[in-house]
């Protein structure tokens, strides 16, 4: 089991999952419910940030 391989694949996925999390943000903007933007933006930033960090550390 090679950790670097696994971390690399997972970090890549995490960065792309963050993009998917922007779709509910779009739904919130369309429905003019701006209070709902923060939960999804936070999750997206966290996912992308962690993914980037993991990729850099391996």
């Amino acid at each position: 089991m090679r950790l670097s391989y696994i971390v690399n694949a997972i970090s890549l996925m995490m960065m792309y999952i963050s993009l998917v999390l922007l779709l509910p943000v779009l739904a919130a903007v369309i429905t003019k419910d701006l209070n709902s933007v923060m939960p999804f933006i936070s999750a997206a930033v966290l996912s992308a940030g962690l993914g980037y960090l993991m990729r850099e550390l391996v």
Binding site: M1, R2, S4, Y5, I6, N8, A9, I10, L12, M13, M14, Y16, I17, S18, V20, L21, L23, P24, V25, A27, A28, T31, D33, N35, S36, V37, M38, P39, F40, S42, A43, L46, S47, R55, E56, V58
Partner: protein, 429 residues
Amino acid sequence: MVCGLEFFEEIKKSEALFIVAVSWIIFAIISAIPYLFYDLSVVDSLFEAMSGITTTGATILSNYNYPPAFFFWRSLSQWLGGLGIIVLFVAVLPQFAVAGRQMFFAETPGPTEDKFTPRVRNTASILWKFYFGLTVLLIISLIIAGMPVFDAICNSISTLSAGGFSPNAESIMGYRSPIQTWLIIIFMFFAGASFNLEYKVFEKRNPLLFLKSDEFKLYLSVVLVSAGIISLILCCDHTYNIFDAIRHALFQVISLMTSTGSASADYTKWSYSAQVMLFIVMFFGSCASSAGGGIKMTRWLLVVKSMKNEIIRILHPNAVVSVKVDNNVVPPEVLRQVVVYVFYYFFIFAVGAILITLIEQSQTVGLASSITALGNIGPGFGVNGPMGSFQNVHDLSKVIMIISMLVGRLELIPFLIMFQRDFWTIKAE
């Protein structure tokens, strides 16, 4: 830093299985983050997130006073999980195209490797396009049938993914529309059938191909026979008239069998015999290469044919008998794997049922929660039925259900293989 196509070329099967398992756990954790902002506890958020991505559809929500983005994310997470997050990455990311085969089949470990193009990336891409097309078709159909646009989007993406989350607290029953119910019955049925087979039918413009598939014929037969029996029960005990009985029986049988979990009626108020039939139906599952969960019809087909052959061997010890599906002989090692899979499935179901029964002090909650989580079905019986929720279940039971949902979605293999010592060594292939 390890990156680029050359890295993925070298990926081993054990690593692919591990990546798939960990990816689903991480996807669940990330999916749970938005729920924390809506005052759900950590366990509840994880439960809702895992239920979403594994297309289970069991909920802890006891009220539905949440904004549209919240409901959209619940449904979207099911849609993404429906065909598999890895299948999506294989389809859209060039890096995953190279190692796609290992991870594609690690995530969708059906009894046979069913693909219709030589390149796995093309297969994944076609599957997602077809899945997207069917979803759009259902959205348009539901809007024409009078469902509000937002609800039509959420219900469609939940239906095609065999998920079952709805923005309506009463699920499909809440819309009080027989036309919308029939539309969802049709699309639920096709969400539970093999997308590969459906694509072949669509590509060759030949619906008769459905009837050449042994798995599809069994799937159709089980749906019709089960719905027929339940319709009779509902008619005889005067729950509904004949037309409503057929509609609700078909809806609930397909919903629970394909692991969608939507409801056109509160079946927990039906007679005991009708509920027992629905409980049995939960063990069948959908077809292989579908969005649905459960044991899968192909496996039942192989198990039943193997049992029949064993009886023949007892009568005629020297007879050479083989198991055939769609006129192809199934190799003995595949049969062995299928029988072992079904055994493990029932073993994990039993362990989950015993643990939840002990925690909740209720056999109904224990049995129903275990199968509904492992089969990725969603609603249970009693207070955990389609109009109820799992809010009042103990946190420990919720954790057992979260694990069961993941194990059921990954079809046991990536989970069970991690208990092998060899798996963690460099020697593992």
